[in-house]
Amino acid sequence: MENLTTQMAGVPLNHYIYLSAIIFTIGVIGVLTRRNAIVIFMSVELMLNAVNLLLTAFSVHSNDPSGQVFVFFIMALAAAEVAVGLAIIVMVYRNTKSIDINVLNRLKW
């Protein structure tokens, strides 16, 4: 593993940014195009992970461990968010027998 990581010097920082931007955009497209509440949740997870990867790459780039600590906090926050969100989805399913988010469109007003 030491050999592998010392050889990793070749990848430009740009390519990490491109990768994260692409994954983030895929998450955005998932949120915009799906109606299943759980799949929308998974797209949000994709976006969070793209940000995590970018934070780690910048942390390595600027030789600062704070970025990786932020990633750790984001993971804790994602765990809390998923627990509460899935509980809400279960409750919505119990009341409406569906997890189609268009059932909830009256929440807009």
Partner: protein
């Protein structure tokens, strides 16, 4: 050679994350999401962020994804009950996403930072280094995140409990 490992794994993560949002069956979506997170773990290992790799593996793939799968099994969903948007909305969504990525990449081209990623300190992402950071300057946020998790646990139990008084 190992830069090629990065490009290979990056391609895999893009393909798997596309499969997440385009799979018809929600169970397949969850399984592809687990594969995507596995490729992210490989990215962390390549960046020598070993603590994050382990946490990503255990917390994300182990705990959060099992929670997703559990809820999907609990709700008993399948392909027939899967709601789908009209094709117009899908096309508009994809176009909006395309505009976003074009904007992001265009602004990156203008910024033009392309210095190669060099690991200056090999012990940067190890537990020892991160622990010193976490229990030094970040001690208060660390303790607050434990409060956040406690509040989330109480909230999840409260929300998903059946209301027996009214029923």
């Amino acid at each position: 050679m190992s830069t090629q490992v990065f490009y290979f794994v990056a391609t895999l993560s893009i393909i798997f994350s596309l499969m997440v949002i385009f799979a018809k069956n929600p169970i397949h979506s969850v399984l592809y999401l687990i594969l995507t997170f596995f490729t992210f773990t490989v990215h962390y290992v390549l960046l020598n962020a070993q603590f994050l790799a382990v946490v990503n593996f255990i917390v994300y793939m182990g705990a959060i994804m099992v929670l997703f799968l559990f809820v999907l099994m609990l709700l008993n969903l399948n392909k027939e009950t899967e709601p789908s948007k009209s094709p117009l909305i899908k096309i508009v969504g994809v176009i909006a996403g395309g505009c976003l990525i074009v904007t992001l990449i265009g602004s990156l081209k203008a910024a033009s930072i392309s210095s190669p990623l060099i690991l200056k300190n090999p012990g940067l992402g190890l537990v020892e280094n991160l622990g010193k950071e976490l229990f030094g300057p970040f001690l208060l946020p660390f303790e607050l995140s434990s409060l956040l998790l406690l509040a989330a646990m109480v909230g999840a139990v409260l929300l998903s409990k059946r209301d027996e008084v009214e029923a």
